[in-house]
């Protein structure tokens, strides 16, 4: 330890550098190179139909994104999703963790129950909730609402509320997971602080606001950032619950990328194959289906 500390910071021994190389090579090959390549191609007219006739087009592709309503919808939905899910998940996970940090008999059981949804793939969650949300007479939630005398809510079929219905399932799924992270952080807080505060006459709310919250900062940072990141790239739950519908009402940035990129690419790959077979250079969009 001492020897390392005595060295100048920032100098890398050749032996250590060598050990870093394999990981660095993989990282550059599978992340840096494709990312930089994608960035470069975003300023060109590259298309999968004409992959060899590439010329520079400046900002054209970027401008076209904002001209199409569907992309604007996608960006708006993604931001809505990321912000609301980040706020709700954290706002619910912290009090839940604080409550389940207290000593009572069913504590362990309740912790498992709240954590459980995080175990399932969002695809399964989507399948499950699409039944719960259903407007059919067999839809559980709407049945409950009907029993309460409230009318049917078309959770996934009403384009004004579908995105919020999607967010709700993800809040339900991920509150427990984030609660566990908050719990771990809570357990690292020295109980003596609370004792001291109590002696000084602080109530439970004051303790929570003045001790718990500030000392939870590391977990808050972690949870906020991770939930926000996964929110900005949300795709799986949208795909399984609504496929971006009804219409394009719940499309997100990634769901559009998948649709515009992959799905068409697959088609065009087939197309390109045909071109290669024909070798006559003409553009034939024909193929028997």
């Amino acid at each position: 330890m001492l020897r390392i500390r005595s060295r100048r910071p920032g100098r890398l021994e050749p032996a250590y550098a060598l050990l870093l190389l394999p990981a660095l090579a993989v990282y550059v090959l599978f992340f840096v190179y494709p990312a930089a390549g994608t960035f470069y191609y975003s300023f060109t007219n590259w298309s999968d139909v004409h992959p060899n006739q590439v010329s520079f087009v400046g900002w054209r592709n970027y401008r076209s994104i904002f001209r199409e309503d569907i992309y604007v919808t996608g960006i708006r939905n993604t931001l809505t999703y990321a912000v609301i899910s980040t706020i709700l998940i954290n706002a619910l996970a912290i009090p839940l963790a604080a409550a389940l940090n207290r000593g009572f008999r069913t504590r362990a059981l309740l912790r498992s129950v709240f954590f459980m949804p995080a175990v399932f793939s969002p695809l399964i969650i989507g399948f499950l909730w699409s039944y719960l949300y259903s407007t059919s007479d067999f839809g559980l939630i709407n049945r409950g609402l009907a029993a309460l005398g409230i009318g049917k809510i078309n959770f996934l079929g009403d384009s004004d509320i579908a995105i919020y219905a999607v967010i709700l399932t993800q809040v339900w799924q991920w509150v427990g997971y984030n609660m566990v992270i908050y719990l771990a952080n809570l357990q690292s807080i020295n109980p003596e602080y609370y004792e001291a505060a109590k002696l000084d006459g602080a109530g439970p709310l004051q303790s929570f606001g003045r001790i718990t919250l500030p000392l939870l900062a590391p977990a808050i940072t972690f949870c906020t950032v991770t939930v926000m990141i996964s929110g900005l790239k949300v795709f799986d739950i949208v795909y399984s619950l609504t496929s971006g519908g009804p219409g394009h009402a719940t499309e997100t940035i990634v769901s559009l990328m998948v649709k515009k990129g992959t799905r068409r690419r697959l088609l065009c790959l087939r197309l390109r194959l045909r071109h290669r077979i024909r070798r006559d250079g003409r553009h034939h969009h024909v193929f028997a289906a």
Binding site: S136, R270, L271
Partner: protein
């Protein structure tokens, strides 16, 4: 499936969809099988008056929404002499959906105006729509023979028939459908011999029958092999006899899949009231143009 005059694949059997109906419910209310869309709407009215959903439909699935519209478009335009060249013209860009299919889509909105299809159904999965059909809450359901086993499992006592998809002008009606999957063999496959044997076997009348047993209702492409259509499809006989089985997107070339998706989504938007029929088809045309110019 041919390419440069060479045969690359031969479909095993055809697929189609039409309108399944609950025979007992039709009997109970003394209803005749509709032959035109107007007759269909009259039948629907009777069911509505008796608290039964005329037709279950899982509009949450964009493809389902597309199938319903394309069935009407097929009857009223694409399957008529004047619409014969539409698919080819749409593929190359010399015809637009808005010009050709707007009347059909306007007619299709009658389903909405009459409350047969509702916004609620945008929140319904196909499986849930099937539940409504097999439990007798709904009297009709558009799909193909692949769901027959599901119907029978869910309600073994149910009597089911099928009539073709209808249009405003009458006639034998149309089944939405076409050739099913074709098998191809990888030229570099290590199991090529075995694969050829499977193909050979499938190409015998016995093989066709075994294949057909799992997909009852389709017809064979093997000469001389004709299956007796199950009784359920009696009311659709005339459409089959006329060869009225067609899936327009099969003529759209590379536009097929993305446009199927966009058309379905836009039909959903029409149901939800976010787009007028005109806007919806214009949006599909715009997407088609973008795909053609790639």
């Amino acid at each position: 499936m041919t390419f440069d005059g060479k045969l690359y694949g031969l479909p095993q059997a055809s697929w189609f969809n039409g309108i399944y109906y609950n025979v007992d419910l039709f009997k109970k209310y003394n209803l005749q099988i509709p032959k035109t869309l107007d007759e269909y709407f009259a039948v629907a009215k009777t069911f509505q008056d008796n608290g039964i959903k005329p037709q279950a439909i899982g509009l949450k699935n964009a493809n389902v929404a597309m199938q319903s519209f394309i069935a009407l478009a097929l009857n009223d335009y694409i399957g008529m002499p004047e619409g014969k060249g539409f698919d080819e013209a749409f593929r190359t860009g010399s015809a637009s959906m808005k010009e050709a299919l707007l009347p059909a889509l306007n007619t299709w909105t009658e389903y909405l105006k009459r409350g047969i299809f509702t916004k609620d159904m945008l929140g319904l999965e196909e499986e849930q729509a099937i539940d409504e059909f097999t439990s007798g809450k709904a009297a009709m359901f558009q799909t193909g023979p692949w769901y027959m086993d599901t119907f029978k499992q869910k309600n073994p006592a149910m009597n089911i028939g099928m009539f073709p998809n209808l249009g405003t002008k009458g006639g034998p009606g149309w089944m939405v459908g076409g050739p099913g999957v074709a098998f191809g063999i990888n030229a570099k496959s290590t199991a090529k011999e075995a694969a050829f044997q499977v193909l050979e076997l499938l190409s015998t009348p016995e093989g066709q029958e075994a294949y057909w047993n799992d997909n009852k209702g389709g017809s064979s492409f093997l000469k001389g092999v004709e299956f007796e259509m199950p009784a359920e499809y009696r009311d659709a006989q005339e459409a089959f006899k006329q060869g009225n089985v067609y899936f327009p997107p099969n003529g759209w070339g590379a536009l097929r899949n993305p446009i199927i998706d966009e058309l379905g989504k836009m039909i959903q938007a029409v149901v939800g009231g976010q787009e007028t029929p005109e806007q919806a088809l214009a949006s599909v045309d715009k997407k088609a143009a973008a795909l053609r110019s790639k």
